[in-house]
């Protein structure tokens, strides 16, 4: 295999301070020069280290021809920065990258679209921007239009398009690029489910044609099904996993939050309870006993809460299930199980594991957050609360989900319980007719 991308000692530094510092005003610059004529020299020593932030540092990797690399990591780990460096949008602060081949980067759907221009004009504009020559766009124009299914609207300015049409046209152009190296941000996986399927199907064909793909995503399902190699980014450093499953497992491990939990305890006011109980870890387990963060909508799964009791007490573990936007869906507690023996319910020092069963067909598809908290029996004012210590998502297989027969759109709501229904005739047709 031949190398196609190599990166050595790559680093990208950003200036902290956000928008204000991002661009200066002349007044500042001039007054700085007048007031502190030597500040430029000094800056290198004192100021820079404080106000700068390394989004990536000391990153080395090598991608061979035909590799399909999934870049994973938490928000802010440097995934987008890496993609921006590879696509040459920004330049690295240190180190260098060598790329052997033509690169196309899809960081958004409909790159360069201008709302005032028609669909036809935008195809040429966007195609050129993504690296196609005018002749190439011309040759593929009919195919692109056909793929998008927008034949009737191709002379309409895209400002009149619905967002769905916009995305379809954008993707149709992207799907007809033929670079050796394709950089894809997960923005391509937004949109409705049908569009997602189309994107992923196209990616599959592209990947089979032997092209090199670098794909950034938060969806481990997508990563596991397409990628062969994982780059796990954490705090700006990169770990390579040649086995995709190992990479995904390492990604999940980041969410166990062992460290974060301890931090949370340390930072909160020292409650009385903290000398009594300590959260060890919280994890979501599927029916096979394996840790996972994605479950099918119909699948039953478990939330395990491991905790350590430090002194004999009446500690009761609780969970709070929240939606992605933070709304409380329901609290869950072990109380119903221990209610009859609550007066004799004492936990001796040691490690405990509470397991909460979340039945299938309860939560709708989406991402959910779990808070954990501990309380002692009869002492309501003292509790240890650890917000968002677990995140999981519910997905569905559209083909087998019992809630769908012919409906492919989004189903609203936080819950999707399978309720009992009866649905019988109370009069038959002949009776109706007699009336």
């Amino acid at each position: 295999m031949t190398r196609i991308i190599t990166a050595e000692n790559l680093g990208k530094r950003y200036i902290l301070g956000g928008q204000d510092k991002a661009y200066q005003t002349i007044r500042e610059t001039i007054s700085n020069i007048i007031l502190h004529p030597f500040s430029k020299l000094k800056q290198n020593h004192s100021k820079t280290q404080k106000e700068h932030y390394w989004a990536l540092r000391n990153v080395d990797f090598r991608i061979e021809e035909g590799d399909i690399v999934g870049v994973i990591g938490r928000n802010g780990a440097g995934k987008s920065t890496l993609l921006k460096l590879l696509s040459r949008i920004t330049k690295p602060t240190e180190g260098n990258i060598k790329i052997y081949g033509r690169v196309a980067s899809l960081l958004e759907v409909g790159t360069g679209f201008h709302p005032e221009l028609t669909g036809r004009e935008n195809i040429f504009l966007s195609g050129n921007l993504l690296g196609m020559t005018r002749v190439e766009v011309k040759n593929k124009f009919d195919e692109i239009v056909e793929f998008s299914g927008l034949e009737r609207f191709i002379e309409t300015p895209v400002k009149h398009y619905s967002s769905g049409m916009y995305v379809r046209l954008g993707f149709a152009i992207a799907a007809h690029l033929e670079p050796e190296i394709l950089l894809i941000d997960e923005v391509l996986a937004v949109g409705d489910l049908q569009f997602q399927k189309k994107c992923l199907g196209k990616m599959e064909t592209v990947s089979k044609s032997g092209r090199t793909i670098v794909f950034v995503s938060h969806s481990m399902t997508h990563i596991e099904s397409f990628c062969k190699i994982a780059f796990l980014l954490e705090n700006g450093s990169l770990t390579r996993f040649d086995n995709i499953n190992e990479g995904v497992q390492a990604y999940y491990r980041l969410f166990r939050k062992d460290n974060k939990t301890q931090q949370g305890f340390a930072n909160s006011k020292p409650p009385h309870l903290s000398s009594v109980v300590k959260l060890i870890r919280i994890s979501a387990i599927n029916k096979h006993g394996n840790q996972s963060l994605e479950f099918d909508q119909t699948e039953t799964f478990f939330i395990e809460l491991d905790y350590q009791v430090l002194s004999r007490s009446q500690v009761i573990p609780h969970l709070m299930i929240r939606s992605d936007d933070g709304s409380i869906l329901f609290p869950a507690t072990v109380i119903p199980q221990i209610k009859d023996c609550i007066d004799n319910y004492f936990l001796n020092p040691g490690k405990y594991r509470a397991v909460c069963t979340i039945p299938g067909n309860l939560l709708n598809t989406g991402t959910y957050r779990v808070d954990s908290f501990f309380r002692c029996y009869k002492i309501l004012e003292d509790e240890i609360y650890e917000p968002s210590c677990l995140e999981f998502s519910i997905t569905e297989d559209m083909t087998t989900n019992p809630f769908r027969i012919d409906f492919g759109g989004a189903i609203v709501g936080y819950f999707r319980p399978a309720l009992n229904w009866t649905n019988n005739a109370i009069s038959d047709y002949s009776e109706d007719k007699c009336r």
Binding site: I26, R88, Y100, R102, G112, E116, L125
Partner: protein, 279 residues
């Protein structure tokens, strides 16, 4: 197709130590389609949803010419070197209009194009360059009108018109240079949004658009030529109205224009490293 294969074999190196003088001419050439598309997009957008469309390219300088003739010639009685006033003003105006449209368009271009710059790679200099598509179209259209004016007034240019191509190149280089420089400065210091309109206004009165270069006192003329537009506009006028422009003045203005152009490329290259981060 052929050049595609060449690009394939090319190794792209991404690092921070780009030399400040280099423009990758080869790369720019391979992106010529994008330049044309962006220029054409600019033209489309300017005339979309306008009633008169491209006619504005004729209406604008014509109205300016009439105003100039009335105000400066008829009312202020500024001498026009024994040339009919409309012709005199018009030949200065079309060069000036190209300059001011290119400069003001280019200076805004990077900010307006920030969505492209932060999402996809291409040689950034194409963005301020592509503004010239629209301004050059205007320039050609108003030049055609000028030919008509000459015929109407029955004036035939002398052999000095052979200097015109040189003047075109100088005008182009100066306009693009100033425009690109201001585009980069504007991306970094947004103050330039407010500065550019003033700058152009002052620059116009510092250039012989509304008056003849002969009105500049003799001892100042050399210094005046440090403003490249003095030599260029005076040159245009002389060429079209049948005289030879002052060679020294033209050379000084040309050299200054060229220096500005080089400076703008150096500054732009320097800025290129951080452009996507500051927009």
């Amino acid at each position: 197709m052929k050049e595609q294969r060449i690009i394939k074999q090319q190794v792209i190196e991404i690092n921070n130590d780009a030399s400040i003088f280099s423009i990758n001419i080869y790369e720019l050439w391979s992106y010529r389609d994008l330049f044309l598309t962006l220029a054409w997009k600019d033209i489309c957008l300017r005339y979309k949803q306008t009633l008169f469309g491209v006619a504005w390219a004729v209406i604008q300088p014509t109205i300016a010419m009439i105003i100039f003739t009335v105000v400066f010639s008829k009312m202020a009685k500024i001498p026009t070197d024994n040339v009919p006033a409309p012709l005199f003003f018009y030949s200065g105006l079309i060069a000036w209009t190209f300059f001011s449209q290119t400069v003001s368009g280019a200076s805004q271009s990077l900010i307006e194009g920030s969505r492209l710059i932060t999402k996809v790679y291409f040689p950034r200099i194409i963005i301020p360059l592509s503004v010239t598509g629209y301004t050059f179209l205007n320039f050609i259209i108003s030049s055609i009108l000028q030919v008509v004016l000459f015929i109407v007034y029955g004036i035939w240019p002398s052999e000095s018109v052979i200097l015109l191509p040189i003047l075109y190149i100088l005008l182009f280089i100066t306009s693009v240079g100033v425009g690109t420089l201001l585009a980069g400065l504007n991306a970094k210091y947004r103050d330039f949004c407010y500065v550019v309109p003033f700058l152009l206004q002052i620059w116009m009165f510092a250039s012989p658009v509304a008056y003849s270069a002969n009105l500049i006192p003799c001892e100042w003329q050399l210094y005046a030529c440090l403003n490249p537009m003095v030599g260029i506009i005076d040159g245009f006028r002389c060429c079209l109205l049948g005289e030879w422009p002052d060679t020294l003045h033209l050379i000084i203005s040309g050299v200054i224009g060229f220096i500005i152009f080089l400076l703008s490329i150096i500054y732009f290259n320097k800025l290129d490293n951080e452009l996507a981060d500051i927009l």
